[in-house]
C-alpha cells in the first residue's frame, strides 16, 4: 500500500524525523488559515503541494490548464488562490498516465531556504534479506539516473536486523555525505529515525528525496525531510490499524478495489484479451504467451488456488466492465481443485453475465474430462484449447479477425 506525502511525514515525525512545518488542507479557506499560521511563525516562503500518489507533481499540468501541482507563494491570499486552482481538479503527471488524478487534499508547508539537496532511502536488500540504507549527495533528482551514471555517489549501508541501526552507521553515512559538526549529529539522529520508521511501520520502502540542508527560521543550518514517500508491506497491515486508516481508495482503480473484495488479484492493463487464471506465476505467463502470439493482455487476474463459483462470476463481471476487452482467455491448471467445479463455475458465470465476446478455455488437471464434458454440453459457444499454446493462438485469432 502507498500513502500520501503528508501521511508519510506524519509517520516520520512520530519517529523523530524533522519535517517542514505545515498543515493538511481540503479547502482554499483551510489553505489560507494554514498559510497565515506559517507566516506568523516566521516563514517567508510557502509551498502548496497537491497530494496524489504519483510522482512528477511539480512539472504536472491540471486538466483545467493550470500548470504545476506544487507551487511556491509568499502570502496567505496567494495560498488561497493556488488551493482554489488545484483542489477539485485533475492533475496529469508523467507518472499518472493521461487520465491523471483528482486532487482533493493539499499540504501547505513552509518552504525553507534550501542550501543543499541530499537523498536518503531505507529498503529491503533482497540479495541479503537485510534492510539497506541508501544515501547520496545527489538529491532532488531521479536516483535511478544517479545509480546508472555515477554509482560511486551512492553510499549503501546494510543493517543487521537483530541489532538495528547503530550510531556508528549514522556517523559513517553522515561523513560520506560530507556533513560536519552539528549537521553530522543531526544526520545520525535523523537516519536512526528514518530506519525506525521503516522497521516499526513495516514499510517496504521509505524514501526522502530531497533530504535538505536548510537555513532554519533561527538562522542555523538544519536537516529536514522536504519530500517523503513511504510504501508499506501489505502483509503486515493487519498489525497497523493507524496505517490502514491512511488508505485512500480514490488513488486505486475501482476495478481493482472491486476485485479485492472477492480476494481476486486483478491489475488492469491496456490490451484487448482478458485473462482469468489460477496462480500468480501462471497468470503472468498467460499474459506473456498472449503477447508472444501477437496480441496484448487486458489484465492480470489471479483467482487463487481455490476459486469458487462466486469468485469466477465476480471475475467475469470485473473483466467485462473493461470496454477495451474483445475476447476472454480462461487458463486453469486445476492441480488439486476439481476441473469440473471450475467448468460449472464458468458456465454459470457466462450465463449470468450474458457474455457475447469470444471465450477460449484451457482446462488441465484434476477431473479434467468431466470438466470438458460440462463445457461441451453447456450449449455455450466457447472455444477450447488443448495446451496453453493452442488456446493462446486461438484467442489471439479471435481478436485478429
Amino acid at each position: 500500500m502507498n500513502i500520501h506525502e503528508y501521511q508519510a511525514k506524519q509517520l516520520l515525525k512520530q519517529y523523530g524525523v524533522a519535517v517542514p512545518d505545515g498543515d493538511v488542507c481540503k479547502t482554499p479557506e483551510e489553505a489560507k488559515a494554514a498559510a497565515e499560521k506559517l507566516v506568523a511563525a516566521g516563514h517567508k516562503m510557502l509551498v502548496v503541494k497537491s497530494q496524489i500518489h504519483a510522482g512528477g507533481r511539480g512539472k504536472g499540468t491540471f486538466k483545467s490548464g493550470f500548470k504545476g501541482g506544487v507551487k511556491l507563494c509568499k502570502t496567505a491570499a496567494e495560498a488561497h488562490d493556488l488551493a482554489k486552482a488545484m483542489l477539485g481538479n485533475v492533475l496529469v503527471t508523467k507518472q499518472t498516465g493521461p487520465d491523471g488524478r483528482l486532487v482533493s487534499t493539499l499540504l501547505v508547508a513552509g518552504a525553507p531556504n534550501i542550501k543543499k539537496e541530499l537523498y536518503l532511502a531505507v529498503l529491503l536488500d533482497r540479495a541479503t534479506s537485510r534492510p539497506l540504507v541508501m544515501a547520496s549527495t545527489e538529491g532532488g533528482v531521479d536516483i535511478e539516473e544517479v545509480a546508472e551514471k555515477s554509482p560511486e555517489k551512492i553510499v549503501k549501508e546494510q543493517i543487521d536486523p537483530a541489532l538495528g541501526f547503530q550510531p556508528w552507521q549514522g556517523r559513517k553515512i553522515a561523513a560520506a555525505l560530507g556533513l560536519k559538526g552539528d549537521l553530522a549529529g543531526q544526520c545520525a539522529k535523523l537516519l536512526a529515525g528514518v530506519y525506525k520508521t521503516w522497521w516499526e511501520a513495516d514499510a517496504s520502502m521509505v524514501e526522502i528525496n530531497p533530504l535538505c540542508i536548510i537555513e532554519g527560521t533561527d538562522g542555523k543550518d538544519q536537516l529536514v525531510a522536504v519530500d517523503a514517500k513511504i510504501g508499506l508491506d501489505d502483509n503486515a497491515l493487519y498489525r497497523h490499524k493507524d496505517i490502514q486508516a491512511m488508505r485512500d481508495l480514490a488513488e486505486e482503480s475501482p476495478l481493482e478495489i472491486e476485485a479485492s473484495k472477492f480476494n481476486l488479484n486483478y491489475i488492469k492493463l491496456d490490451g484487448s484479451i482478458a485473462c482469468l487464471v489460477n496462480g500468480a506465476g501462471l497468470a503472468m505467463a498467460t499474459m506473456d504467451i498472449i503477447q508472444h502470439y501477437g496480441a496484448s493482455p487486458a489484465n492480470f487476474l489471479d483467482v487463487g488456488g481455490g476459486a469458487s463459483k462466486d469468485q469466477v462470476t465476480a471475475a467475469f463481471k470485473i473483466i467485462l466492465s473493461d470496454p477495451a476487452v474483445k475476447a476472454i482467455f480462461v487458463n486453469i491448471f486445476g492441480g488439486i481443485m476439481d476441473c469440473n467445479v471450475i467448468a460449472t463455475g464458468i458456465v454459470a458465470a457466462v450465463k449470468e453475465t450474458g457474455l457475447t465476446l469470444p471465450l477460449v478455455v484451457r482446462l488441465e488437471g484434476n477431473n479434467v474430462a468431466a470438466g470438458k464434458k460440462t463445457l461441451a454440453e453447456s450449449g455455450l459457444t466457447l472455444i477450447t484449447g488443448d495446451s496453453m499454446a493452442d488456446a493462446a493462438q486461438k484467442v489471439v485469432a479471435t481478436v485478429a479477425k
Binding site: 529491503l124 533482497r126 540479495a127 534479506s129 537485510r130 534492510p131 536516483i143 535511478e144 545509480a147 543487521d160 536486523p161 537483530a162 522497521w199 513495516d202 517496504s204 508491506d233 501489505d234 502483509n235 503486515a236 493487519y238 498489525r239 488479484n265 491489475i267 492493463l269 487464471v277 489460477n278 496462480g279 500468480a280 506465476g281 501462471l282 497468470a283 503472468m284 505467463a285 498467460t286 499474459m287 506473456d288 504467451i289 498472449i290 503477447q291 508472444h292 496484448s296 493482455p297 492480470f300 489471479d302 488456488g305 491448471f333 492441480g335 488439486i336 488441465e364 488437471g365 484434476n366 495446451s387 496453453m388 499454446a389 493452442d390 493462446a392
Partner: protein
C-alpha cells in the same frame, strides 16, 4: 537419490488441525508420504485420522521430533504466527522446514532468516507450493509430498524442477509427465521477496545429485536470484538447464500477485533475466507451453 527429501523422509505438519493444513495432510497420506506427526499447540495427545492412518498430534515440534524421528516439516500456520513456527522447527533440529503460508510480513521473515543463519535447518519458502520427490507407484504414489502440489501429475525420473510459482511448476511437471519424462525432485521456492532457499541453492543441489540429468528452472520478474543462478551455471554447470521467465508483459512498479514479483527502479525485469539465461547457455522457452520440449531438445 533425488534432493532434499526421499520417499523415506519422515514428515510432520505444523498446523495440521487447521482447514488448509488438514486437507493437504490427507492428500500427503493418500500419496503415500511418511507423515508421522502433526503439531498444534494445545491439541497434543490427540490424533489426526484419515484413511486408516492415525497420526499423533503434539504440542511442540521438539516433542514431535523426539517421539517420531521426523526430520522435515510443512508449515501451514497462519501468517501472523508462521515465522515463529519456522523458528520452532529450526530449534527442534529439523533438516528441512517447508513454509507454505502466504502473507507473512517481510519483517518477520527478515528476523527469522537472520535468526536461523548458521543452523543445520534448510528453509524452503515461504509462500511456496512445497517439495515433491515422486514415488514409483501408480501416478507416482509412494513419494514424498510436502506442501500443496498435486501428487498425481508427477512421475519418478531424472529431471529436476525449480520454480518460484506453484501453478507454473505444475505446468512444467505436467508437460514432462505427459511426454513420459519423470522428475527427480520438484521444488517450489516461493514468491516472497525474502525466502529461505534460492534458485541457486536448488540448482547446486541438482547439479550434485547423480539421479538428476537435466533441470527446468522457472523464474519471474523481481529481484536478481535468477541472474545469480545463471552466473553460477555458466561457470560450474554440468547438466542441461532450460528455463522460462514469467512477467515480460508486467507493468513496472506493480506487484503481480506474488509479493516479490515486481519490477522496481528498472531492476528485476524479465528482459535482464532472459539475457542472463541466454548468456549462461540456459535454453529459454519461447512460451510457457514449451518448457519441457526446450529441455528435452537439449538432452
Amino acid at each position: 537419490m533425488a534432493i532434499l527429501v526421499t520417499p523415506q523422509t519422515k514428515l510432520l505438519v505444523q498446523g495440521i488441525t487447521g482447514e488448509f493444513g488438514a486437507r493437504h495432510a490427507r492428500l500427503s497420506l493418500d500419496y503415500g508420504t511418511q507423515l508421522v506427526a502433526g503439531v498444534t499447540p494445545g491439541k497434543g495427545g490427540q490424533f489426526f485420522e484419515h484413511g486408516g492412518h492415525k497420526v499423533p498430534i503434539f504440542d511442540t515440534v521438539a516433542d514431535a521430533v523426539k517421539q517420531t524421528g521426523a526430520t522435515a516439516s510443512a508449515v501451514f500456520v497462519p501468517p501472523p504466527f508462521a515465522a515463529d513456527a519456522i523458528l520452532e522447527g529450526v530449534d527442534a533440529g529439523l533438516d528441512l522446514v517447508v513454509a507454505i503460508t502466504e502473507g507473512i510480513p517481510v519483517r518477520d521473515m527478515v528476523k527469522a532468516k537472520q535468526a536461523m543463519a548458521g543452523s543445520k535447518t534448510r528453509l524452503i519458502g515461504p509462500n511456496c507450493p512445497g517439495v515433491v520427490t515422486p514415488g514409483t507407484g501408480k501416478d507416482s504414489h509412494g513419494g514424498c509430498r510436502i506442501g500443496i502440489a498435486p501428487g498425481y501429475i508427477h512421475k519418478q525420473g531424472n529431471i529436476g524442477v525449480v520454480s518460484r510459482s506453484g501453478t507454473l511448476t505444475y505446468e512444467a511437471v505436467w508437460q514432462l509427465t505427459s511426454r513420459g519424462v519423470g522428475q527427480s525432485t520438484c521444488v517450489g521456492i516461493g514468491g516472497d521477496p525474502v525466502n529461505g532457499t534460492s534458485h541457486l541453492d536448488v540448482i547446486q543441489l541438482f547439479m550434485a545429485d547423480p539421479e538428476t540429468k537435466g533441470i527446468i528452472m522457472i523464474g519471474e520478474i523481481g529481484g536478481s536470484a535468477e541472474e545469480e543462478a545463471a552466473e553460477w551455471i555458466a561457470k560450474h554447470g554440468t547438466k542441461p538447464v532450460a528455463g522460462f521467465i514469467a512477467g515480460a508483459t508486467a507493468p513496472p512498479g506493480r506487484r503481480m500477485g506474488h509479493a516479490g514479483a515486481i519490477v522496481s527502479g528498472g531492476k528485476g525485469t524479465a528482459e535482464a533475466k532472459i539475457s542472463a539465461f541466454k548468456a549462461a547457455g540456459i535454453g529459454v522457452a519461447a512460451t510457457p507451453s514449451d518448457m519441457a520440449d526446450t529441455l528435452l531438445k537439449m538432452m
